[in-house]
Amino acid sequence: MKKNISYILILWGLTIATASAQGIMGGHVTGNVQIDGQMSHADSVIGATDVPQRLLMNARADILYTNGDFSAGLRFEAYQDPLLGFDAEYKGQGLANYFVKYNGSKLTLTAGNFYEQFGNGLILRTYEDRYLGLDNSLLGVNVQYRPVDGVTLKALAGKQRYYWSYGDGLVRGVDGEVNLNSILKPMTDSKLRVTLGAGFVSKYEEDGNLTADDPSQLLNLPLNVGAGAVRGDICYGHWSLNAEYAMKGQDPSALNNYTYRTGNAAVVNLNYSQRGFSAGLQAKRVENMGFKSMRSQTGEMLYINYLPAITKNHTYAFLAMYPYATQVMGEQGLQADVMYKIKKGTLLGGKYGTDLHFNSSVVVGLDTTVTGGKGTDGYTVNPGLGPLYYGDASAEVAKKLSKSVKLTATYAYQVFNPVVENESGDLHHNNILIADLSWKVNKKHSLRFEAEWLGSDSYYNKAEEEHTDRRAGDWIMGLVEWNIGRNFFVSLSDQYAYQDGIGNYYNLSVGYTQGATRLQVGYGKQREGMLCIGGVCRLVPASNGLTFSLTTSF
């Protein structure tokens, strides 16, 4: 990728030449820059190791040039060396992303790196998450065509980013989406809104010359692996229903131990919403849907598809301490979410009203029987449920106590199976209490206090230090945040394992914002754990030291 400057110059040259030819030079340039740094030293209690480089840094700059229907952009990234928890493969610097784009009324054409999603992403979603260290953009061509209102056709082909190079496989895909209310006159003014879609993605990868478990047998690998999906969105009044079903052809890979059973996935979302009340029910079933553009890859890179999370993405520290990672080889689950606002002026609503939020999810595995290893179908699926992977239930009450004070209180119960992090052990049962109080002292100053407690039946075994989860045990946490005007804040927090656990993780953060520029500096200890966003996770190792972050945009 670092050597692709010639391609970029050609693309930029074409853009500028086109712009010049049409006499539309001008346009405007926007961009943003982010620099994150980290210094850490060894701390045997929390398991932090020394950083021989002393300073680690991730930096990036996005620049976008727009001129009418044309735009062109590039992103420079530098990892000198990557922050703790980011893959060492990122070490280096260079242009990680570049594209030119024409966005007309009927046609959108992108050449270069692009991100795309078909439906819920069950067969294709390329995206970037800088906090996960994840970027599976495609380098190629993406065309969107809108022949009439309500109809969108997409076609794409390219190779996926793999750190500083590209994956072996070539990804091709088409997708079509039709809004019936736009193309069928009788439905134009109907309260029933219907959108239907379908897509197909195919991956080509050269033969890998791989042997089966019996080394005298060579795997006959499918070079072209296809996945297709159909979906629908239906809205009627306060109700909405979204459903998608996907199938994947034989795809022997390192994810499924090179077995040949096909994959499938289904997602259904049913929602009801009206003023002051909303409820949602989500169901998902996944079987063997790890779809990558390089069959030997097992990490988080090079996924062609994305399987939406069915558990709530928690933000409070202890709620997020045991996050659930999507199990691409097989899982089935349900999630229910209800929000209700008790009107103000009532007994429970008080002067300002009260917000209630309930959420519960449960995820179990598939009940499978192993029938063979590499070069076989691998397993069969039995009716019924597999092991419990994760379950939680939470209740949150948010109430404005006065004009300047707001309190949010949360109780949650979690059951967590370590097998979802490829660990063994008993189920962990956690009770969590959280109180979050915001106080606007005056026009210039505000304070926020957060207190959390986690009681868990897991415990830290010091005698087996190398194999023990440092999240274990009972914890308390306190946080004070002081905001001074719009520009400055100071935050002090501490997480302490007071029983059956280990570690005292204090943190001091200071932030300053000036216009579009923000600088934040922190010092303290980071607990080892999993950071999950949308069911996709990365391990964050323990650290003890200084962090800083500078962001700006123009």
Binding site: E89, R172, V174, L218, Y260
Partner: protein, 276 residues
């Protein structure tokens, strides 16, 4: 609108055709090899790691730990050659022997090693491993799972300071381009000073897999085979031990043989043996 649906149908037709289906009785095919009886000796794909290191490199022992663990995992499917970097941290401490070699320095220069530790797997220049090299372990696993394009075996017998080496090569698949065969002498259990990750120096650090000499030309001798599936040849070499410091202890030595593409120098397969 008709044109649009025609485009959709045509696109879907093309893409659905882009999906292979394998019948259950065709999931595997015989490799045509001799079968499992002699599989472990000849018909396997091995991973050769060239590790560029140095006695004054404090992070190099971390790479040793990773590769030692990989050796436990992959056994003789993994072959390691340690090469001391020609300058800087690769230079010896005062009053310590110089384990650099001209051939190793030529490999180092050709690969463009700028900092150590650094390693290449089967001389694939698209990927350099550095630091603790934790990512190399999975990559080795990917390599050794592959069905080899060729089988290679090596035996060595010493008589005095003369060593007779036999190398057996058989192509299982037809390959494009000329090939070269490289023979190297490596030595284990060399105990010398080494900078350690905590900043200290360890006087009795054990250096294993150290390159002592390249027996063939630096980047190998041309192989008189066309690279056609089924071709088989046994090559005979006679090698006289060089008079170098520290003197070579034959019982700690290995002969490493690897077959490479002549143009890209990428290693196709490799083998290693002790000296009898």
């Amino acid at each position: 609108m008709k044109r649009t649906f025609l485009i959709i149908n045509f696109s879907l037709l093309i893409l659905f055709a882009s999906c292979d289906k394998i019948n259950p009785n065709e999931y595997t095919t015989s490799t045509g090899g001799s079968g499992p009886s002699n599989w472990e000796n000849f018909n396997v794909q091995r991973a050769l790691v060239e590790k560029y290191t140095g006695p004054k490199c404090p992070n190099c022992p971390n790479a040793d730990v990773t590769l030692d663990a990989a050796h436990v995992q992959y056994g003789d499917r993994l072959i390691v050659i340690s090469v001391n970097h020609p300058t800087g941290q690769g230079e010896p401490f005062a009053n310590q022997p110089d384990l650099r070699t001209e051939d190793g320095s030529a490999w180092d220069t050709w690969l463009g090693i700028n900092s150590i530790p650094a390693a290449y797997l089967n001389r694939d220049r698209s990927k350099q491993y550095s630091g603790s090299m934790s990512d190399i372990v999975a990559a080795i696993g990917d390599v050794v799972e592959r069905y080899p394009l060729c089988g290679i075996g090596v035996t060595a017998t010493a008589t005095g300071d003369s060593i007779a080496i036999d190398v057996d090569v058989e192509f299982f698949s037809t390959i494009e381009g000329a090939t070269t065969l490289t023979l190297a002498l490596t030595e284990d259990s060399l105990v010398y000073k080494q900078s350690m990750p905590d900043g200290s120096r360890q006087d009795d650090y054990v250096h294993n897999h150290m390159l002592r000499d390249v027996i063939t030309a630096t980047f190998g001798d041309d192989v008189p085979l066309q690279g056609i599936a089924g071709e088989h040849k046994v090559g005979h070499f006679t090698y006289r031990l060089p008079d170098i410091e520290p003197s070579i202890v034959l019982s700690n030595c290995h002969i490493v043989a690897f077959l490479s593409y002549r143009d890209s120098r990428k290693i196709i397969n490799s083998a290693e043996c002790t000296i009898q």
